[in-house]
Symmetry: D2
Subunit: 93 residues, 4 copies
């Protein structure tokens, strides 16, 4: 099932600046092969729902993996539809 999504990763416990960790999350999502569009409040993606979930899981595993980020709060918006193919470009006007 194809979907569009917005992924916003909030690292907790690394200090007031979270830039390094947020950038790393974006790079992981980008490397997943999903179509990505970065903006100030997250990364918008388009692709198979399984690939979207896999990319999110990989962000959590990777950022926790080296012990620098103890806590992650990720906000996801997930959109699917049956009347036409879900598309990021189609959501703009």
């Amino acid at each position: 099932m194809k979907a569009v999504a917005e992924i916003q990763v909030i690292p907790i416990g690394v200090g007031v600046s979270v830039r390094k960790e947020v950038q790393r999350a974006h790079e992981i999502i980008k490397a997943s092969g999903l179509k990505v569009q970065l903006h100030a409040y997250g990364t918008n993606v388009e692709g198979e729902i399984d690939d979207i979930f896999a990319a999110i899981k990989q962000v959590h595993e990777t950022l926790h993996g080296d012990g620098t980020v103890a806590r992650l709060s990720t906000a996801i918006k997930l959109g699917t539809r049956t009347d036409k193919e879900p598309s990021l470009d189609n959501k703009l006007f």
Copy 2:
């Protein structure tokens, strides 16, 4: 990896009342075996991250499957941490 999450399913295109579809989504999540807590803005869950994603996917597949819901916008908040086991009860005070 264990996680906590909030799942809010918004059916689009079924009319102003979305109660029936939202209730159905909650029932699917509940039947998945995850620990669930219903509130006015969604279903909070606790369990394995793979099971959480599987439950969300099943909601989308099921609600789209019989042709009554053409569009779904789901808002998910996903929490993981390495300093202790993620827990819904632990998030309350």
Copy 3:
């Protein structure tokens, strides 16, 4: 205009545990006079839209005011409708 809302306050830069600050945010919202329902992922409220916004602003001003929380990321879901009075209880089933 009456509305329902969910308010989730995420303090950034205070460490891995954010319980004290989240509890304080909830107490401020509760003291605002809005109808409140606490759950693991935030505080659901019901009342006038102006009072909801005022409560959120007060949370940010108060938590920033004493210098302990340098950064706040608040997620809000806001619901209004014209066919009937918005109500938290009505969103349950």
Copy 4:
């Protein structure tokens, strides 16, 4: 107090296509004088917190006002910080 925010307006009960109403919401936010950045999942804004709340209220009042949108679910992310001026551009890398 200056803030950054993301505003995503979801019209419920107008059908599967919500493009017209979402575009109208964006135009109202843009006309408010806030700095705006449109993306596929909403409008990012930067400005005074009171002006951000006023713009959101105006979206709800306007879209409900002519009777075409009976129900609105708006997702807002609100960010403030005291260590430096909140800025949309600063959130990018």
